[in-house]
Amino acid sequence: MKQRHKNVRLLFRFLSFLLLLTLTGCWSQREIEELGLVVGIALDLEKDKSLEEALERNENRYPDKALMTITNQLITSETTGAGKKEGKSQQKAYNNVSESGDAILPVLRNMVLRSDKHLFAQHLKVIVIGEDLARTVNLNQILDFFLRGQEVRPSSIILIAKNRASKTLESKEPAVIPALHLIQISKGQERTTKILPPISLGKLSGKLHSESSFLLQNVSTKNGEVKFEGASLIDGRAKKLRGFLNEKDLEGITWVTGKGKGGLVKSLDEKTGQLIIYEIESMKSKIRPHVVGNNISFEVNISSEGRIAENWVVSRKVSENEFLKRAEKVSKKEVERLVKNVLDKTQKEYQADVLGFGDRLRIEYPKVWENVKKDWDQTFSKIPIKYNVKLTITDYGTSVLNK
């Protein structure tokens, strides 16, 4: 009985406490329609530095360097709701807001002064960094805010924009939200070798912390259309943009790393000079380090299976073994060319290992790696690399003949 009454008492105490909470509570409450969802952020170097500086001097403000311009892509209840209800399809589905400053958070907070919405970055999908900014400022510094705060999810993707980043967050069609559009395109490795796997903020934090160089996806804008084009090479030491790789280089990279899931090899038939298109069904690559004494060398074995997807060679029976062999041979040569091209470029031109050779060495010869990892990019540029390519055509589609 006593026990029971105690329970009653406890229950009432708890209830009264709950009541107390309702009186004061709801500290963190924020209705969803009061938020401005930030789905994309573009970071650029301040356009006209001198003008800005002049303005500042005149007003004699707090010494604000106005290093960069931040463009937020906002989605608010006005942009989503209004269009639907009253049939105003011409209204843009997003709202870009720009502001300049020397650090990210202060700039974002300055936007509070201009917007009735509470900026909310948990739905941030993509961070685009402009070429100029990436070249001049350490990525670690730029991204520190995004890595530190809890609002930005580590799943958001980092892109480098050729020229202005803010341009990439604009679209011609008002109904399309550019940030979401970018995300969709960035996952295109299913069908082409000309794109890198996307790098999320979470993965980037590891890469930035290590000393090795790496690649980021690249976007460019032409005539108001965005396009993924090549890759940016980020220097492992300075954490700055070193240069760009073009689409051809990217194809080579995909072959060396073996991370492609699909794509094409376009080659010319030796006899007729006509096009043969080889479609990749599977792709494998094995990088083997060899260490003899102090000499490190690598061997890359690439193998792939695929089929003939398009054939311009006239009046040849595609099913003939002899022809298939020929096609395999020319495609193989093309792949070898791509690989050689990219190896030359990374070893000679950029002297940066972005292909994961260092990683293989670390895994198979951890002790050797400990010795060389300090100056790995230097060492890498002088290491001999052999490569073997093996292509097999397993299939030629539904048509046997080509007339």
Partner: protein
Amino acid sequence: MKMRRKKIKIRQLKMHSNQSEKAQRFMPPQDSMGHFTGEFMVDLERVRQEIGHNSDVHFREFHIGSKDIRAAIIFVDGLSDKELIDKHIMKSMMINFSEEYKQDPSILNQTVLKEFIKNQVLSISELSEVHDLYDLISKVLTGSTALLVTGVSEVLILGTTKGKSRNIEEPVSEALVRGPRVGFTETLSDNTALLRQHGDNRSLSIIQFQVGLRAKKKLVIAYMNEIAGPELVEEVKNRIKKINIDDLPESGYVEQLIEDNYLSPFPQVQNTERPDRVIGALMEGRVAILLDGTPFALIVPVTFSMLLQSPEDYYERWLPGSLIRLLRYLTVFISLFAPSLYIAFISFHPGMIPTKLALSIIGAREGVPFPALIEALLMEISIEILREAGLRLPKPIGPAMGIVGGLIIGEAAVQAGIISPVMVIIVSLTAISSFAIPQYSVGITLRILRFAAMFCAAMLGLYGIILFFLLLSSHLVKLKSFGVPFISPAAPYRVSDWKDFMIRMPLMMMKRRPKIMQTKDSIRKG
């Protein structure tokens, strides 16, 4: 600890004496005044004084045979079977008796007279004697006929109860697609007969109690004496004996007086209108309690998982049975947490829902003037009002009510921009879910708790919901129904009982009775 236990004991003793005092208060005076004298006129006059003023109590005086032996019968109009009285009492006493008497006049001897009437005159199966006026009254008022005879100091009570009973119909509160179309009625004897009818089972024990201090009622507990654990049966008997209240109009009274924790929002006793469900429970080693005057039988003990079962789970094949059960657990979850999760995600953690969903919700909530909690409360309460109103209305108007409430108000509220369409979806889903739970009382419980969950969510978001869940489970793990942990077999684990828990395994595999019932005979099937 010891000290405490002692205290408790003392308290119990006190309680006991209290109780007997109380009981006495309701008892009629027990002096010699109650006994019959044997003087016919005196006794009859006393009966008249006590109940004679009631218009429905009939007194019929007559003479036995041709001689001057005066007699009287007393019965209540409507409760007693008049045909039976005419044919087997009046006729026997007035006509048959005289013939017998003519053959053997020595019958006049008074001591033999009673035996003679009992053994040779009355052709009635149920017959007893009372010595006391108040016993007589209570028997007469339940439909028996009292027979007073000159010179006999006992009164004969003749079982002529007719009772008003309705036909056996399909139970309204628990409809099934497949299963017997038989439900209990308001008559206890019919109900026990339904249980007996189930098959030749000598193990079925039906034990009668009398409850109610002022309005005495018959209450029956039924169990399988070869299966049910003796401790459980004892416990049930004890608790029923302790009921002291003047009247029990429905088995809900019994339920509330014998349950373990009267503060808990959860029902700890199962109620049903279906005899097949009761039989099924008895076969699991549980005990049923039937009260006269109500079609709702009680079953104890009960666990939370049992409250979510329907007899159809067993009548259907195991696969549909199992899937439907899983669905019910889902409905429990939805009806408890759906609105609160919505509030938590919309008002506190918009970052945790998918981006596209967030975008469409933002669009939908554009212009809604209330925060999510108020919006949810508004809708939930109007749904509750609708439900209650639909319940009370005459049947033909019910559906119209649904249309007016559900469609028109919902649609209009959305059109007017007071409520967001997403909220309407959530609320109606929740309401439908709570109706999908087979036990009506559980549905009500979940609806009440849902409001608590909504407040918790509105205060602390997802964290509040987790706290609510922890509080709820802390309560549930403490709760017991007649010694059986309420949430077993989930906790504590009874792996052997999991065959009949979230899913129902094929009958071929359910070879044993539930372990938690601690049955005498655990094997169900060889």
